[in-house]
Amino acid sequence: MFELLGIAPQALFGQLLLGLINGAFYAILSLGLAVIFGLLNVINFTHGAQYMMGAFGAWMLLNYVGIPFWGALVLAPIAVAAIGMVIERTLLRRLYHLDHLYGLLLTFGLALIIEGLFRRQYGSSGLPYNNPLPGGTNLGFMFLPNYRAFVVVFSLVICLVTWFVIERTKLGSYLRAATERPDLVQAFGIDVPRMITLTYGFGVGLAALAGVLAAPAYQVSPTMGSNLIIVVFAVVVIGGMGSIMGAIVTGFGLGLVEGLTKVFYPEASSTVIFVIMAIVLLVKPAGLFGTVK
Amino acid sequence: MTKAVLTVLRSAPISAAKGAPEENARPRSRQCNVDGWPNAREAPVAIADTVSDVPYIVEASGLTKEFKGFTAVKNVNLRIRRNTIHALIGPNGAGKTTCFNLITKFLEPTRGTIRLNGRDITRTKPADVARLGMVRSFQISATFGHLTVLENVRVALQRKLGTSFHFWASETSLDALNDRAMELLEEVGLSSYARHLAVELPYGRKRALEIATTLALDPEMLLLDEPTSGMGREDIARTADLIKRVSAQRTVLMVEHNLSVVADLSDTITVLARGEILTEGPYSEVSKNPQVVEAYMGTGHGHG
């Protein structure tokens, strides 16, 4: 068998598949962030905390109510989205007319509060959550855990549905227009405030969904979100801010690139995203799928 | 009236302070103009010595601009005679603003060359074009919103002081420009607004401010994109008057939909339609051209 850079092609397949799986998390997280940023112009720093809340939601549902993973997959995002909508109504709403820096500061503050409360209650080293789909398939070149296979398929479906709703329906143009001139869109007879609340809720729900998906695979801990947020943010920027397709494709794509880096230069695997971001922005100012305004 | 004109034209605050107004019109060449500035350290970008030998200040030939499969400007040859007012008219979307953007280098032409004073500026940067003495205004009003009206004008005056990179110098050094700035504001009827922030001005006044800012550069060539749009009658009259006065020493290229202003002011008119030149000539000729009437003027326009 020939070898590529010292790695057997079989192993390389395995690594690529892993990258794709990892990309699934990025995609779904960055999708939520892109929906919120692209459409509401809010840099949602709470996104990481909401992702964490999703994971904890699953844990709580299991441990306090006895609802298993599959139920949590529906209930936890709805609950977190509801909290998100309350936040939007009471706090974020008052900042739309300001520079998006203020939204950033507010959501950052909220993230600290949420994270702090969870740490206070559950400690910082995390909680166990069992794998709902144990076992796996041996693909020959690697062992593919069932749960990971589920994650990839499930997130692809979610991403495509979201993309369709936003890009291929009227809702998408309302949202994009409302980003630019909410007052004017409202003057056309659209209930912009409600639309924005629901959109924020939706974006937050996606974050929580990613959180639930993460619970069986990663550590369920209060810090799980804050470590990820900046990377996810980079994904959104590389994809082109506000571009739904961009977020999805870049999410999966960067998962792949990161996966390869983990093989060839593992030390740089968390930096590679930023290298790509710098290059992309210098060459294509509005990101891969973005349009310059 | 003439007195006022001269105040506008005199660019040296120092002579104003001395109270010794020069009674004759300011010499035309830019070199002399710069001399009027005691602090003029910023070297003007070199201009060919043959400046005034060229009858045309701007010569654009074969100008073409394509946007993703759409040609906004097609093979336009535009020559603008020195010290005239040249109007560019045409239906909406004809490519007038695009021509402006090309000439001032805010857009890169797909094909064609542009010469300013005989000098090829096809590859020059927009800021440098402005330094060569060709300054534009924008169609959608462009002011510095959170600067005061006075500061707006001063920013334009300031460049010639040559201290714009001096981060160690005091702002008060700019106060020397206040008198000159006030004169300019006076001219466009904005002196009572001097201390207001530009955002607070009503639309029409913003346009006036923009003209004052443009004039502050004392440009050799002025490009005005719809200078009177959004203005009330008095303002239109005042602005038209102003343009006429300043044009005595300068070349003006303007886009304007207000035909009475065009008729009143322009020496030459170029009519663009669908990116191409339809015809060119004085108002009397152009306005009789049936193609122009059909594509642009419409029947029986009153002069607004």
């Binding site: 192993a11 395995g14 690594q15 892993l18 990258g19 799986i21 990892n22 998390f25 702090g116 740490r119 400690g123 910082s124 080293s125 995390g126 909680l127 166990p128 959550y129 069992n130 794998n131 144990p134 796996g136 690697m142 062992f143 855990p145 749960y147 990971r148 993460a214 069986p216 695979a217 990663y218 550590q219 369920v220 801990s221 810090t223 799980m224 470590n227 990820l228 996966g259 983990k262 093989v263 593992p266 030390e267 740089a268 695997s269 968390s270 930096t271 | -």
Partner: protein
């Protein structure tokens, strides 16, 4: 000493109160210090002292840590600083303590440099260090047939140190290191690295990382069936709190080294019971126990000396009297500041074997005190060379 005016002692617990290391130290360490104080006050020697405990959060930032340490020493009259997890902060506080001639008793940090290159006459390192962990886990596993290793290492100094120390032990005991992969800190997904470890066919996968990274790698190893596939996981720096957050289902079978475990004798259990009652049912880690013992021993030394202002003198006294308390038993503090006690090799129980909360470990071996830590002969500590 005049019995009429008790000597005022101020103890400062400086650690991570809200971050990554809050569970293994954090508020629990403060409780442990206070407990040691009240236990000491109950003894006759306690009558001569008036002890106060303060605490602060260094947020895992060296500058915040040193700022607090300086202010405590300069302004607030703190005499001794305890705990300080996070090697970076610990090394910085180590310097300040020396500069101000106060006492620093570390329980939470892993850096063996504290008693090596960076040792000072003012510092005591109590509970564990990278050398001890590497030695405990590395030796036991290699001797039991786990003779080929692959490391998943956190790409940070402590990870490198753990890997280096363990590899040395493995090689010394006839084992072989087949490879390693350096992973950036706070990486959530280890599947790629686990796959590399898997394909290396090493018998043992050494996890030279900590906290969330360790938890994630173990969790995902279970997902990918690594242990079922016949490879063994060795956690080189794992605390009871980590095992708790992993859950036994995932953590079972893991081999690890600790300096102290709550369920080993009645004294420990009594301590744990009280600790749990005060800390939402959480059980103490070895770091908590180390803070308790360190505080107690410090107070003994101060009481014996009758003074607490000269830190070096107090530490000299601490080294002079043998350590003895109900949690760590009898021991000593070496010239380099290393507190010496046995280390223990544990295996994590299966869920079915666990009978009550925090019933997590089975004792596999005890490493006697004289073998548990880096021998003085190998020490780079200048204090040792002089003596």
């Amino acid at each position: 000493q005049s019995p009429s005016a008790p000597l005022a002692v101020k103890i400062g617990v400086l650690n991570d109160q809200s971050g990554l290391y809050a569970d293994l130290g954090g508020p629990g360490s403060v409780w442990a210090a206070k407990k040691a104080v009240s236990d000491f006050m109950a003894t006759p020697a306690g009558k001569n002292l008036k002890v106060e405990v303060v605490f602060a959060d260094h947020q895992n930032k060296a500058d915040v840590g040193t700022a607090i340490a300086r202010q405590w020493f300069d302004v607030d009259g703190v005499d001794v600083i305890l705990d300080v997890p996070n090697s970076g902060v610990a090394l910085a506080v180590n310097q300040v303590a020396k500069e101000k001639n106060k006492v620093f008793i570390n329980s939470g940090a892993a850096a063996s440099d504290l008693t090596g290159k960076a040792c000072t006459p003012n510092t005591v390192h109590w509970t564990y260090d990278t050398w001890a962990l590497a030695n405990g886990t590395g030796k036991a596993i290699t001797k039991n047939g786990g003779d080929t290793w692959f490391f998943i290492t956190a790409d940070y100094a402590f990870g490198h140190a753990l890997e280096r120390d363990t590899a040395a032990v493995v090689n010394a005991n006839g084992g072989k290191v087949l490879g390693q992969v350096r992973v950036p800190l706070n990486n959530a997904d280890f599947s790629s690295f686990l796959l590399q470890a898997q394909s290396s066919k090493a018998k043992v996968i050494g996890l030279a990382n900590a906290g969330g990274d360790t938890i994630n790698s173990i969790k995902q190893a279970a997902e990918y069936g690594i242990v079922e596939g016949g490879q063994k996981l060795a956690g080189l720096l794992i605390f009871l709190s980590d095992v708790n957050s992993l859950g036994l289902k995932t953590a079972q079978g893991l081999t690890l080294t600790e300096a102290w475990y709550w369920d080993m004798n009645d004294d420990n259990r009594a301590f744990a019971k009280e600790f749990a009652a005060a800390n939402r049912g959480v059980h103490p880690t070895m770091v908590h126990a180390g803070v308790y013992s360190g505080t107690l021993h410090y107070l003994k030394a101060v009481a014996a000396l009758g003074a607490d202002k000269d830190g070096a003198a107090v530490v000299a006294k601490m080294k002079e009297i043998p350590t003895d308390d109900k949690l760590f038993g009898k021991g000593e503090i070496r010239a380099d500041g290393r507190q010496i006690h046995p280390m223990y090799l544990f295996e994590v129980k299966k869920p079915s074997e666990s009978k009550y909360p925090y019933d997590y470990y089975t004792l596999k071996a005890t490493i006697p005190a004289n073998e548990a830590f880096r021998p003085l002969s190998e020490s780079e500590c200048p204090l040792v060379k002089k003596s």
